[in-house]
Assembly symmetry: C2
Homo-oligomer: 328 residues x 2
Amino acid sequence: MTAGVRVVIALGGNAMTGPDGTATPAAQTEAIGRAMAHVARVVAGGHEVVITHGNGPQVGNLLVKNELAAHVVPPVALDWCGAQTQATIGFTVLDSLEAELARLDRRDRVAALVTRTLVSLDDTAFARPSKPIGRYLPREQAQVLVDHGETWEDRGARGWRRVVASPEPLEVLDAPALLALLGAGYVVVAAGGGGIPVARGADGALRGVGAVVDKDLTAALLATAIGAEVLVIATDVEHASVGFGTPSERPLGRVPLTELERYAGAGAFASGSMGPKVEAAMRFVRHGGRHAVITSLERITEAVDGEAGTVVADPAYQTPATATEPGR
Amino acid sequence: MTAGVRVVIALGGNAMTGPDGTATPAAQTEAIGRAMAHVARVVAGGHEVVITHGNGPQVGNLLVKNELAAHVVPPVALDWCGAQTQATIGFTVLDSLEAELARLDRRDRVAALVTRTLVSLDDTAFARPSKPIGRYLPREQAQVLVDHGETWEDRGARGWRRVVASPEPLEVLDAPALLALLGAGYVVVAAGGGGIPVARGADGALRGVGAVVDKDLTAALLATAIGAEVLVIATDVEHASVGFGTPSERPLGRVPLTELERYAGAGAFASGSMGPKVEAAMRFVRHGGRHAVITSLERITEAVDGEAGTVVADPAYQTPATATEPGR
């Protein structure tokens, strides 16, 4: 075990739903409990831990509610849906994590922050919505929503699916509050679902925008902003692989940044799934992180020490003089 | 202007909706903007400010969505509904407050905390649900929901309405995190909707429970826990009144705790509206607060100084040696 480090753990949406992807409150609570057993072990390892998480299945549910109640209750945009999941997942994580820490005879303090992520209204993503979200619908039903201004795409046999803007995260606006809590010894849940996307209007004021920010890219930005040494991206496979799904598939273990950049440049990772995770890992290491790891939830304790999963590091990395100084 | 004090401002649900009670996202955002113009002036007065808020109309909307989408998406209980509103109102408050502070040439930091409130499963409120929430329905439609285990009451001409448990708030579990943020100079939004109700099970672990905690009672508990000097309960009237709605109606200005206790004991305040506000004000002053004020949103700046609204104080109050010491 290395000495305690500051680590951001990004949990995939799969860590928040039942085995078959069900997102009932009971299934979510149970899944979060399982995930927190692993996170608690990282905390017990003496590390400063920030937890962030996806929210795809949860937002999918909220969109259905929006749609089916629209004749009675005004629908809310994606910024509001994202916010809603930060609090439901957030408090469930707090309850579960406290219970798992108690099992390890620890009384660490935990807190969940409502977190906004700055995006730009000039981001080209707003002109070209591309991130698929929510349920599949038959063409006729999708057409009604297209007539209401939404963008839906024909996804073949499963039907049509809504696509939304996924702009670049520019700044985790509530990172300073997170640092204040970390400094006071808290394990902090923050930036769920990539953060609530807000943009600055012509008057300089921030307002929520209907979009979805990639949670792994936000996790990397957040990890850099708070001076984390390690970023762990927990997913449902133990390693990122090149040649995924082909006979020449090869899982990646410890991989230098430059080598991973070559694979990514050659299109080795799927844009909708492993691509953003690899991109997030590379960004974090480029901006001075010690290492980023992509692995399964079950391996996150070893991952913090760089001893499991796909470990991305810059061979030129040097331990900073003050490892806890933010914003290096 | 007195020297800066620590103050908890509790905003009513009316401060979060349109003039006619509409709770569209646009109406909520606009109303919150108006409210934050007043809150920003309190912050600019040099006070340490904690903002809490109601969520009645917002939870009402979520319950309708639950109901109308129940055949496709699992409904969520009241703890989840409350959590959802903490984050949507929370981030909108952050955006609006930052904008209003900027107008006053201030750059105070703001943060919103997901906040849990401890309740007891032994609270008699669970056996006798009494707090009306959500929309009115015709008897036949209400009966369907009664058959699903909900409690609905005949409210006369307007129809039937759901009643839920409103247990006593015992502890604001995330108050220590709030104190850490306050200590770092933040204006903090917390305990929205009275906090997410959680209870300790037989195994000692906390879990959310389907209930609604009175937001003013939680505000009083929170204000005491963080050692606030002042509690301001903002509502839609400038004063609490005795004989409300009668020819002998008399608005209360500065009123000693013991006098207010007499009025309350004689049933002078309506249980569903002014009653809990008066009760919250009395509790806060009994537990050592300098003064509690019930007034309109427009008067909160003067209220902090005890110069507007119904000001409840204990004549025996003595300024504590260290005014910022928590939990006195």
